[in-house]
């Protein structure tokens, strides 16, 4: 496309080429640089370099599976200018439903169990997402309060469905044949998460769905005046986020052959952190899937690495906090002029 320009305007640059330039200069580079630095540091310090050992790499990958799925869900929603605090509760409810289905289908063999519980988890997640979407669009409640309310409601429902205790007696085959199974050495949960990430990356960058999502986040009035049916699209987005949380719930129960209804309270916040570190703006309009991956890896490296090299837990908290600040401030140095506002107006 070499369009000759009237006068001296510089239209020679085809759209795609300058996009590559844009990627390089944005902050994903910095996040991965820090990830690599930490890997080198932890490997050198850990006893006979176990940090980089096969088993620990598998630890890192299986630890990051659920975080990545929730990260994709929150990155989509943040990109469209919305929030979701109910992802953790959605994960719990989905894992409870998956667990109960797995127990019920146990006699029919591991294949049926896996499919049944996966489908059950996804449907539960979609339903929670749908209710989130309807509260936000039909009842006009801002998505922080709507999903916070759903956090309580979904947790309550999970406790009622599970009778207030973790679902036990889940067929261990679910764990052996899926949760801790590896494909070419890569844990299955991580494979699923990376697949979902790849689809999300392509959808965001090249599809109409991604464009409309970013338009709604960049300026909701502009998207509405361009004729986008924002309500319908938001409900779809919340359902996608819910479905991803459902898959994460399924993975959770396959990894541990048990639900963990008392945990997952910080899942939404960690997903938001990974997305924001990766360059996704809280105010919407700008999402970086590659940056999200870097953010999730950073979180997992720190959680695992600091234990492997034996840092005591109190100091772990401090080290993680300091590295978070360094990671984001280093990235800002480059963008000297444009101050990145939390809620860019």
């Amino acid at each position: 496309m070499t369009a000759d320009t009237i006068g001296a305007g510089g239209l020679a640059l085809p759209a795609s080429e300058s996009r590559l330039h844009k990627i390089l200069t944005n902050n994903t580079f910095w996040i991965f640089a820090i990830d690599v630095l930490l890997i080198i540091l932890f490997t050198s310090i850990s006893i006979n370099h176990t940090f980089i050992s096969g088993t620990n790499l598998q630890n890192l990958m299986s630890d990051s599976g659920e975080g990545l799925l929730l990260g994709i869900a929150i990155a989509f929603l943040l990109g469209s200018g919305e929030f979701d605090i109910s992802l953790g509760a959605n994960l719990i409810l989905s894992s409870v439903v998956a667990g109960l289905i797995a127990i019920a289908l146990a006699p029919f063999g591991i294949g049926i169990v896996i499919i049944g519980s996966l489908v059950g988890a996804i449907i539960t997640g979609l339903i929670v997402g749908l209710v989130n979407g309807l509260i936000v669009t039909r009842l006009n409640v801002n998505s922080l309060i709507a999903t916070l309310a759903m956090l309580g409601i979904v947790t309550g429902v999970a406790y009622i469905v599970s009778g207030g205790t973790d679902v036990t007696g889940v067929p261990v085959a679910l764990q052996d044949d899926f949760g801790i199974k590896t494909v070419l050495g890569i844990p299955l949960p991580f494979v699923i998460a990376i697949l979902a990430w790849a689809i999300a990356f392509v959808a965001l960058r090249f599809s109409r769905f991604g464009l409309h999502l970013l338009a709604m986040g960049s300026s909701r009035p502009a998207a509405e005046r361009a004729g986008l049916n924002t309500n319908r699209k938001l409900v779809t987005l919340f359902m996608i986020a819910g479905g991803l949380a459902g898959i994460a719930g399924f993975i959770d129960i396959t990894r541990f052959a048990a639900t963990n209804i008392a945990g997952h309270t910080q899942d939404s916040l960690s997903a938001i952190t990974a997305a924001v570190i990766g360059g996704t703006l809280l105010a919407g309009g700008i999402v970086s899937m590659v940056g999200l991956l870097g953010g999730v890896i950073l979180a997992v490296i720190l959680a695992n690495g600091l234990v492997v090299i034996g840092v005591s837990s109190y100091y772990q908290l401090i080290v993680v906090g300091v590295i978070l600040v360094i990671a984001v401030s280093v990235d800002q140095l480059r963008k000297s002029d444009s101050k990145v506002r939390l809620f860019s107006k």
Binding site: S46, I47, N48, T50, F51, S53, T55, N56, N59, D63, Y159, S162, G164, T165, D166, T168, V172, Q175, G179, I180, D252, R255, F256, A257, A258, T259, N260, I261, A262, G263, H264, T265, Q266, A303, N304, G305, V307, V308, I309, G310, V311, S312, S313, Y314, L317
Partner: protein, 314 residues
């Protein structure tokens, strides 16, 4: 914390390295357990590392346990937050000849080399009797617990409540209010329970922070003489409450003993199977650790001291 000796691959004279993972490292129950494990390790000529999450999240504990396992220690102790979910990491370790001992909570399924845990049914018997005495079998009993789904916490009332209801038919035991380790939430719930149930006689708090919250609520409401507080665990705050008469009684566990036995058994096994990478036999048998009902009367006796948790190991 000391990182273990460089090479642990089975050579006999090398110091053995044991890693202990706790459910909540800022809780006096687990600090006391650490002291027991450290003393036993020192006595057995081994080194001990102590790790664990700072918020009670099972996922965080499982991840910490997996990370520590990856450093191939000689033996491991686990104080699981919930008894499920650790199998995937424990079983491979046991297969590689690394004994794993569970303290404070049993593993489900029983994959560990051994388990030292309080016999909660036994421990709640004196508490049942006390509640019967205080209420005379009538009135209402309130229950403030930590979180649903945390077996270490729910074991403290899931067996006792049915026993109480069977023994005292017209005693009303309320369903638990969950305070998630937060003193202020426990105080809010207790104050409301007192308000909502005029015939409230006893409130049972299942752990330290909850007990402190309920004591404050009772004091603020000025109902100290009609509403008695009983609790589980004996954190220093709970001992202060007993001494000041705000806490009628509390069940002291012996985490020091539990972890000491665990380390001793692990070292015994390692010394007996030097350098072997044979599968370590798992067992479901439980070594029960004793408990003691601390009351204002006996709290200062020598025996009672053994059941009071420490905050430092010196």
């Amino acid at each position: 914390s000391s990182t273990g000796s460089a090479d642990t691959s089975g050579s006999s004279d090398k110091k053995l390295r044991i890693v202990a993972i706790a459910a909540l490292i800022n809780d006096s129950f687990f600090i006391t357990g650490k002291c027991g494990a450290q003393d036993a390790a020192k006595a057995g000529g081994a080194t001990l590392q102590f790790q664990g999450p700072t918020s009670n999240s099972a996922t965080a504990e499982i991840q910490a346990f997996a990370a520590a396992a990856a450093t191939n220690p000689d033996g491991m102790l686990i104080a699981p937050f919930s008894n499920t979910g650790f199998g995937a990491t424990v079983r491979p370790l046991m297969k590689k000849g690394i004994p794993v001992w569970a303290t404070g909570q049993s593993l489900e399924p029983a994959d560990a080399y051994g388990t030292t845990i309080t016999d909660f049914l036994e421990a709640s018997k004196p508490l049942e009797a006390l509640i019967g005495k205080i209420t005379g079998g009538k009135g209402t009993v309130g229950l403030i617990a930590d979180t649903t789904g945390n077996k270490t916490d729910s074991d403290r009332y899931t067996e006792m409540v049915p026993a109480l209801e069977k023994k005292y038919p017209d005693l009303k035991v309320l369903s638990p209010q969950f305070a998630q380790n937060s003193t202020s939430m426990a105080s809010t719930a207790a104050a409301a329970l007192i308000q909502g149930n005029p015939d409230m006689k006893v409130i049972y708090a299942t752990s330290g922070p909850e007990a402190v919250g309920v004591a404050s609520a009772i004091k603020a409401a000025g109902v100290g003489d009609t509403v008695k507080l009983v609790s589980f665990d004996s954190s220093p705050q709970q001992i202060d409450l007993i001494k000041s008469g705000q806490l009628a009684a509390t069940v002291g566990q012996s985490p020091y003993e539990g972890s000491k036995i665990a380390v001793e058994q692990v070292l015994k096994y390692l010394k007996a199977h030097k350098g072997s990478t044979k599968q370590v036999p798992a067992t479901a048998t439980i070594t029960a650790t004793p408990t003691f009902l601390l009351t204002p009367e006996n709290v200062t006796t020598a025996k009672a001291l053994k059941y009071q948790y420490m905050t430092k190991c010196d």
